[in-house]
């Protein structure tokens, strides 16, 4: 086993540019996942519990990135959050937050693309909670906020882990929306996916692309294993001794 890995290592010969793409991909995916999380929990809770006029509209908007061509989502981000676009200009002028052609823009695109998957997983988990436990918490003096914090949220944990895993994987694989919104700038917005795409566009580049492909497979597999481990631990906490 060890010998085979060592045998592969000359093949896994990443250039500094490749490493930059890997580091960027990880940073963008992690930031996108964690920044999306509080919004994901809030929206999932609202969709699972609240009844209000226009709920199906919100539901549809949240799921839109799942069904739209990613390039269309990227374009919509561009005309909303671009440097001269209304929201983009406002954020840049008042908060100094610039998305266009920055890695933050890539994180925004990834977060938007991953959002429906995250919300879906968390929402299912919230809907599966026995609400009678929340009633019991209320009789014990827990108001809405504390009940959410001490009962609902911990019981949602398996769904939150699954949602984060799905979001991270989606962010790591995101290509179309990112390249449309923030282009493919090495060192700033060129993720693993974009780097692989770039390499395959030059003659003989597919061999170099293979290195990045292997890295992508390893990261995805590691994320899957980690989330399985966390989910099993969370489930044991809920049902075990």
């Amino acid at each position: 086993m060890l010998r085979r890995v060592r045998g592969m290592s000359p093949m896994l010969n990443l250039t500094p540019e490749d490493w930059t793409a890997v580091e960027l991909s990880l940073r963008i995916s992690v930031v996108a996942t964690f920044v999306a999380l509080p919004f994901g929990i809030a929206v999932a809770y609202m969709l699972a519990r609240a009844e209000f006029w226009g709920k199906s509209l919100i539901d549809a908007i949240v799921h839109l990135p799942l069904v739209l061509p990613p390039v269309v989502t990227g374009y919509l981000l561009l005309i909303t959050f671009g440097r001269r676009a209304p929201v983009g200009a406002f954020l840049a002028d008042h908060f100094g937050i610039v998305f266009s052609f920055r890695w933050t823009g890539a994180a925004l695109a990834c977060g938007v693309m991953a959002f429906p998957l995250m919300v879906r997983a968390i929402r299912l988990s919230i809907e599966a909670i026995d609400r009678r436990l929340e009633d019991a918490a209320a009789t014990l003096g827990a108001n809405g906020f504390w009940c959410f914090l001490t009962i609902t949220l911990p019981l949602t944990l398996p769904g939150i882990i699954a949602g984060m895993m799905l979001a991270f994987a989606r962010a790591l694989g995101e290509f179309g929306a990112t390249i449309t919104f923030v282009s493919n700038i090495p060192g700033e917005t060129q993720t693993i996916s974009a780097a692989i795409y770039t390499l395959t566009q030059v003659p003989g580049g597919d061999a170099a692309a293979l290195n990045l492909v292997i890295v992508a497979v390893v990261i995805s597999a590691a994320a899957l294993v980690a989330s399985e481990w966390f989910a099993r631990r969370a489930a044991r906490r809920l049902h075990g001794e």
């Binding site: 026995d130 009678r132 436990l133 009633d135 019991a136 918490a137 209320a138 009789t139 014990l140 003096g141 827990a142 108001n143 504390w146 009940c147 001490t150 009962i151 911990p154 019981l155 944990l157 906490r237 809920l238 049902h239 075990g240 001794e241």
Partner: protein, 224 residues
């Protein structure tokens, strides 16, 4: 009305029948007795603040908890009424000890080691404290549920068929604890059951419900 600990007069349409009940309790153990489907659990939920009556009033220790005419509806979290549910409803992600402490945390009371030790001893749950509810037996779970409701220092304790989900042997296991609770805890209790033998052992006073209405009120001799 003033001498009553609890006074209830509520009305609500529940599916096919109308719950229209008024009764009062001067303390001790009042048993709400009746076949299943007569609205006993709904009544408990209304007193606890988990279900809203359409009309009526609920008063506890002279405080109005609900009054449809004056639009008063104190939320469950502020009623300080302990509830022991039929299925226990322990929090699966918390240890037994943390389940027991939950009401105290939420009410912001300081830790009271003596009260805790007393309840643990009363219900014989010392060996279970470090465990999680998932692996407890039905009887153990109900004892924890009773302890959890007691430790929130309730003004009133509602027990909604606490033995219904247990087999005969487990019922015999819990009944002595309920008797100790009645004789020792000094908390007025409403005890819901459809089992006449249980009610005879636990209750001081019986309110018999039939089809959402009070059919009779009296002592345990009412059960024949």
């Amino acid at each position: 009305m003033e001498s009553n600990v609890l006074a209830v007069a509520v009305e609500k349409k529940l599916g096919e029948f109308v719950l229209d009940v008024s009764f009062s309790s001067a303390g001790g153990v009042t048993a709400l007795f009746g076949a299943s489907g007569t609205g006993k659990t709904s009544l408990i939920n209304m007193i606890a603040g988990l279900m809203k009556p359409e009309r009526g009033r609920i008063e506890l220790d002279g405080e109005t908890l609900f009054d449809s005419a004056r639009r008063i509806d104190v939320p469950a979290a502020k009623r300080h009424i302990g509830v022991v549910f039929q299925e226990g409803r322990l929090f699966p992600h918390l240890s037994v000890k943390h389940n027991l402490d939950y009401g105290r945390w939420m009410s912001g009371y300081p830790a009271d080691a003596a009260a805790f030790a007393h309840v643990v001893e009363l219900l014989d749950i010392g060996p279970l404290l470090g465990r999680r509810p998932g692996k407890l037996s039905g009887g153990e779970r109900q004892r924890i549920a009773i302890g959890r409701a007691l430790l929130m220092r309730p003004r009133l304790l509602l027990l909604d068929e606490p033995l219904a989900s247990l087999d005969t042997a487990r019922k015999q296991e819990i009944l002595p604890y309920l008797e100790r609770l009645r004789d020792d805890a000094h908390v007025p209790m409403i005890y819901v059951s459809h089992d006449a033998r249980e009610v005879k052992r636990i209750g001081n006073r019986v309110v018999r419900l039939d089809d959402g209405r009070v059919a009779a009120v009296g002592g345990v001799e009412l059960l024949g």
